[in-house]
Symmetry: C2
Amino acid sequence: MIKVAIDAMGGDFGPAPIIEGVIQAFEERKFTPILVGNKAKLLSLIPAKYQQTFQIVEADDVIDMSDSATSALKRKESSIYKAVELVKEGLADGVVSAGHSGATMSLATLRIGRLGGISKPALATIMPSLNHYGKSLLLDVGAVTDCTPKNLYEFAIMGEIYAKKLFHIERPSVGLLSNGEEDSKGNALTKEAFKLLQKVNGFKGNVEGNDIFKGTIDVVVCDGYTGNIVLKASEGVINTVFEIMKTQIKKSTPAKIGAYLMKRKVFSHLKQKVDYAEYGGAPLLGVNGCVIISHGKSNAKAIKNAIYQAIAYKSSGVNEAIIEQVSKLNQQ
Amino acid sequence: MIKVAIDAMGGDFGPAPIIEGVIQAFEERKFTPILVGNKAKLLSLIPAKYQQTFQIVEADDVIDMSDSATSALKRKESSIYKAVELVKEGLADGVVSAGHSGATMSLATLRIGRLGGISKPALATIMPSLNHYGKSLLLDVGAVTDCTPKNLYEFAIMGEIYAKKLFHIERPSVGLLSNGEEDSKGNALTKEAFKLLQKVNGFKGNVEGNDIFKGTIDVVVCDGYTGNIVLKASEGVINTVFEIMKTQIKKSTPAKIGAYLMKRKVFSHLKQKVDYAEYGGAPLLGVNGCVIISHGKSNAKAIKNAIYQAIAYKSSGVNEAIIEQVSKLNQQ
C-alpha cells in the first residue's frame, strides 16, 4: 500500500481542510495516510472511525509564510521537516504539503536529494489548455529563479517524461517559452538552451505565452522567475475577468437572470477548468522521491487531488524513467 | 496642428483598416495625417473629400513579418522607414505603425535616437486593471530581452512619468515584477535593480504577476523577455476563457438564452475592458520622438485610438519630463 505523508499543519487555513481532504481521498482510494502535526489537534479533527487507521507523526512546530526558506533546515520539529524526513527514510512514498513552498522545496532538495543526472529540481504546474488532454505542463514555476541552459534542458526532459507518464501522452510536444516563436527569438539564457533542447525528443522550438493555453504544446519550459510570474499573471487575469463579470451582473436584472441560466452549463464548467483545486498540487520534479506542493489556500478538494497525484506519481515510475532518459541523452 | 505619420502598409490586413482608422480619427480630432505607402493603392481607399486633405508620402516597399528587424535599416524605400524618417526630420510629430514591431523599434531607436539619459527604450503596454483608472502600464514588453539593472531603473522612471502625464495619476505607484512580493525575492537581475529603484518616487517594491490586473499597482517594470511572455499569456488566458464559454454556450439552450441576456451589460463590457483596440498601441518610451506601435491585427478602432494616443503623447510633454526626471535623479 502506498504511504503518503501529509504536512497537516502547513496550509493557510490550518489543519481542518487538510484533514477533510485526506478523509475524502481515503474514502475513494487505497493508501495509508501519515499525518504530520500536533497530535492532539489532529485527533480532534479526525472522526473516531479513522483514529486507528490514520497514522499520526507528532510535530510541534509549524513554518509559516513569514519564515525564511533557509531557516526551515534547522527547524527539525516542524511538520514539513518531519514529513519530508519520512520520505527520505523510506517510511513514506510521497509527501503532500500546502505549507511554505520555499521551505518544502529546500527541504526536499537538501534532505531527500536529487535524482541522478539532475542538477536542480523544477516545480511543475498543470495549466488548463485547449489541447486534447485539457491540460499542459509548465515548468519551472519557482524552484530555480536563475537558471543555466543546462537546467532548462533537464527541465525539458523531466517535463516530457512527466507528461508521458502522468498525462498519458505518447509523444508529448515540448516548447521553450520565448518572446516569439522564431528560432532567433529569446534572451541570452533561452538562446543557449535552445541548442541543448534539440536533443529532447518532442522539442518543437520556441513557444509564446499564449501557447500554454491554446493547445499547441504539451510541455512548456522556462526559468522559475518567468514561470512563477506567468502562473500568477494567469491566475490574476482569470480573477479579474470573474470580478468584472460579477460587478456587471449585479448592475442589471436581465444579466442576473442570464447568469443564472448560464451557471450550470457554462460558469461551473469554466470554474472547474481554471480551478487549481482540480489539478491537485505541483510536483517537484528532479528530487529522489515524490513531493507534491499544494497551494497555500488549498481546500479539501485540492488536498484530495494532491494525494491522488502523489499516488499516481509513485505508481507511474516517473522518477526511474527520468534517470534513464537523462542518462541515455547524456551518452549521445 | 499635430502631424501624425502613419505606416499605411504595415498591418496584417493591409492598408484598408488603417485608412479607415485614420478617417475615424480625423472626423473626431484635429490633426494632420501623413499616410506613408503606395500612393495609388492609398488613393483608391481614401474618400474623394479627403484626397486633398490627407498627405501621402510615397513608399514602394513593405517590411513584412518574415523579414528580420535588422534588414529594415537598409530598406530605405519601405513605408516604416519613411514614416520614422518623417519624425526624425521633424516633418511629423509622431508615428503610428501596425507593421513589423521589431523593425519599427530598431528604426526608431537608431534613426530617431534616444532621449538624453536613457540607455535603451522600452515598449510599454496598457493593461486592464481593477484600479481606479481601469488600467496599468507594463514595460518593457519586448524592446530589450536582456536587460541590465540600469535599464530597469530607467524603465521605472519612464513608466512613472508616462502614467503621470498620460493616465493623469498624480503619484503613480511603481512595482518591480518578481516571483514574490518580499524584498528578498527576484532573480539576479531584479535583485540588483531593486536597489536602484529605491530612488524612484513611487517605488513600492516587488509585485507579482497578478498585481498587473488587480489594481494594486499603476506601473509594472520588467525585462522585455518576461514582459512579452506575460502580455501574450494574458491574451491567451482571455481567449481561452472566451473559447470555453462559447463552446459551452452552444451545448445548452438555457445557456444560449442566458448569454443573450448577459450580452449587452456584461460580455460587451468585458470585451471592451480586455480589447487591445480600446487602448490603441504601445508607446516606445525613451526615443526622442513619439512612436506608437500597434498590434499587427489592428482594426480601424485600434488605429484610431493609436492616433489619439500619439496626439496625447505629443501634447503631454512626456519626453521632456522624462529627460528632466532622469537628469534630476542622476544628480542625487
